[in-house]
Point group: C2
Chain length 287, copies 2
């Protein structure tokens, strides 16, 4: 038994033919306090020493549907082998994650799998070293000594809020504009009122004007924008719920994407934020 640090004691249960069973409390503070004693127990030390180290690698992909990834993995299994690889895939906010666990003996199998993913998905792969898109974008901005400003309609600040999630974000996030009403789009980032009248607030033209306006108003390297119909109301046959235009204005050009997203209001707004981060990555890796 390991002395309790809260109410629950820890247990190390010996087993004849298998590694010992280690039982630890769930609350992080209790677990952390007990950890040194747990790993110092001779039975635990011995089984840690005897254990084979398991590697875990993560490939993160943006763009393709989950079915395309599944087909690629199936084809690779046929062509070569995935023996010794424990592969799990996950789709979240449109991002695909391939997590593979394997023992050192299967390192060649994994190298072959990684090469196959690289050959098929190429630049759609945005991380192979564990970083998420927030960290990837932050590192690119830092590397380029680049700064950003936002102009957000449907996401209404969530994109800027996310850009500020990481400590140290003041190195690249200068500021932003929540241009929720049409009047705010004109007053804050100079979108011509006539343009909104002509093509509507949810349009490629307005998304571009917002991104360029944010960039110009705050003198940043990049300007990011979102404008869309988050629902549940406000959709029309031409501009249904889930239609979102995003743009990234850079020094030399402006990138634009038209998204047609499914899901509820929260999902549409969240997915718009993630899409804008990926469009910014594209801008940062293209220039």
């Amino acid at each position: 038994m390991l002395e309790p640090t809260g109410t629950a004691p820890g247990l190390v249960v010996p087993a004849d033919l298998a590694p010992p069973v280690l039982v630890l409390p769930g609350p992080p503070a209790e677990l952390q306090a007990m950890w040194p004693a747990a790993v110092a127990d001779p039975l635990v030390t011995a089984s840690i020493r005897a254990a084979e180290s398991i590697r875990q690698e993560t490939v993160r992909i943006w763009g393709p549907p989950e079915s395309e990834l599944a087909a690629t993995l199936r084809q690779h299994e046929v062509d070569r082998t995935t023996a010794g690889l424990e592969i799990t895939t996950c789709m979240r906010d449109g991002e695909l994650e391939v997590v593979t666990r394997f023992s050192p003996a299967a390192a060649d199998s994994y190298a072959s799998l990684a090469a196959a993913l690289d050959a098929h998905f190429g630049e759609q792969i945005y991380s192979t070293d564990g970083r998420d898109i927030d960290r990837v974008v932050a590192d690119l901005l830092l590397d380029h000594h680049a700064t950003v400003a936002t102009a957000e309609s449907c996401t209404a600040g969530l994109l800027a809020g996310r850009l500020a999630d990481l400590a140290g974000s003041s190195a690249y996030l200068v500021g932003g504009f929540v241009t929720y009403s049409n009047e705010a789009k004109t007053a804050e980032v100079g979108v011509p009122a006539q343009l909104i009248t002509d093509v509507g607030a949810v349009s490629e033209e307005v998304a571009r004007a917002m991104a360029e306006g944010a960039r110009s108003r705050l003198g940043t390297t990049y300007g990011l924008s979102t404008t869309g119909v988050a629902g549940p109301g406000g959709g029309t046959p031409d501009k249904p719920v889930g239609l979102v235009h995003i743009a990234v204005a850079g020094p030399d050009r402006t990138w634009h994407r038209r998204l047609q997203l499914g899901g509820d209001r929260t999902t549409i707004r969240q997915r718009s934020v993630v899409s804008a981060l990926h469009l910014l990555r594209k801008a940062l890796t293209t220039t």
Copy 2:
């Protein structure tokens, strides 16, 4: 057995002396499809008819610590009775929630408890009808035909993003400013650069200037601001991590709160957003 609508069938298990046991699938789509058949089963219908209806009431409180609520509940139990009341309390983002479930026979006990809470906490109670702070603030803004604009530093858009969470928010949210850098505070909402030099960006004076600037730039009824040290870096002895100033500028005056929050960067930013919503409620219920 109830016909499966997905892969799992439903079950109605009769029991001699107790209500029947009803087993239904978890996936919402499967559950919903099976629901009409489940409640139409004669055993289920009979036990629903025989069941006593249970009331559930929720009192939401902003301001006091959880210990004060616990003391109030203990005192009430001594003075009167809480027999027949199943009371649970929960603290989240600084908001206290008292959920009470009781059978109609205990309605008087509950009325007495509700009166005791009202007597002790008064205006700190912001909801007794199930609405959360987002809905309470939205309804107040709609009732007052009032509009809002934001100027955010440490929360960097999360407050505006939250004000846009509810469908129909375009009726009151005009826009906002993410004034993350000092330069953005000056350029976007007109905070004098000299003021920032004199008292620092994290100060009552700058919070007030930001709220008033946002209000004036977008011509809204209210302007809301946040400026603070979200950490983990950036703290000083005078202005430690967790120090946040928030302000709400209205037509006649500006409200301000100095917060000293615990927790990590995410918690501090999240709690700042919630505090700003409650300060806006105060402004809306005071004027």
